[in-house]
Symmetry: C2
Subunit: 194 residues, 2 copies
DNA sequence: CGTCTATTTGAATGTACTCAAAAGCGGTGG
DNA sequence: CCACCGCTTTTGAGTACATTCAAATAGACG
């Protein structure tokens, strides 16, 4: 079985910090590849999240289930994205999120333990994760504001801009769940859009 | 004029990292106190955000103005909270947010320049800010999910839990703007709650 | 091919908004 | 101290956006 292609994750990290050969080698050595089949769970609500995952191919989604049993998608993680339940990862308490594969997916896992050791061994990584978390925070702030002022149709347009690789590839009910409407309403909305 | 009380910010930081005397002294030396009158702006949409602010007393709010001219409150920053336009701060591009005092407020400002120098001089601070940004990210993720599945009334209850010191101290229209409803609807909603 | 899930459609309902107007409230100047 | 001004809050009627429930249709996959 051929090794997973790790050049993508190096390219991803190189956007924000520069690694020398040793650092790169060490970093790659602590990553654990994991294949996960469509619909399988990387994390279930109530589990403890013990790693941060990077998507090599395929796609993941993270969501909660509300009291009416509806899935509420927090976000999708297509190729070249990171995903984790940040709450559970930092507190080591029961996860709020489910993280599930929406296609057969290859991941590289960085365990919490290794990640924290990495911060000491190569402080640049603390910088790297600070920066991507800052960006994620900004994205979530924007989404909060969008939720306060945009209609479902405008939120759908934003979704398409954010995930151009996904908008025509995902079951509609997933998109509906992300923008926060029922599948029925989403269907009617699309009909009236063109 | 008496000096601003800086013990609060040291206590805030000590929640996550431990500073020795020199580090504490250096950190305090780079903070710039600023008083800001009720309704005055720390940052206006379009400005470049050049500092992170810590609230010693009073209260700030950050918000956007949507295309219909409505304020949309992203969050409040009461005593012991940090506030900034993260997008503008990290990119040094035009701010999306307005940051305004909702009471006479005393701030301690940490300039972007000093903050980045601090990361090199005392790497613990990179850890500190990574941790508080992680927590802020989790809070915003929860708020996104709340926006997807909760009614206005339930969002109001969450608001009261998040800001127990504010819920009965703020003009209703500010709260309405935070939970994402019109002041008129908020008024009717409250009448029906009890 | 049959089963299961996703999507579409329609009718009735509910939640929240718009617009307009009245009432309350706080600060300021006479 | 009171009167006035501006802003916030309340109230009501009509409307728009989105949901619920039910049923029909279409697609995916073994």
């Amino acid at each position: 079985m051929p090794d997973i292609d790790k050049s993508l994750i190096i390219k991803n990290i190189s956007k924000h910090i520069t690694l020398d050969n040793n650092e790169e080698k060490h970093f790659l050595s602590i990553l654990k590849p994991q294949k996960i089949k469509k619909k399988a769970f990387l994390l279930k609500e109530g589990d403890i999240c013990r790693a941060t995952a990077f998507v090599i191919n395929g796609c993941m989604k993270s969501f909660t289930v509300d009291k009416n049993g509806f899935e509420r998608v927090l976000n999708f993680a297509p190729v070249d994205w990171w995903t984790a339940d940040m709450f559970s990862l930092i507190s080591q308490r029961a996860a709020i999120l489910n993280i599930q594969a929406i296609a057969d997916t290859q991941l590289l896992l960085l365990s919490k333990q290794d990640q924290e050791a990495l911060y000491f061994q190569i402080p640049k990584f603390e910088r790297f994760f600070r920066i991507i978390i800052e960006k994620s925070l900004v994205a979530h702030q924007m989404r909060v504001l969008d939720g306060l002022s945009l209609t479902a149709e405008q939120r759908y347009i934003k979704f398409c801009e954010k995930y151009p690789q996904l908008w025509n590839q995902l079951p509609q009910k997933e998109i509906a769940s992300y923008i926060g409407v029922t599948p029925e309403f989403f269907s009617k909305m699309k009909r009236n859009m063109d």
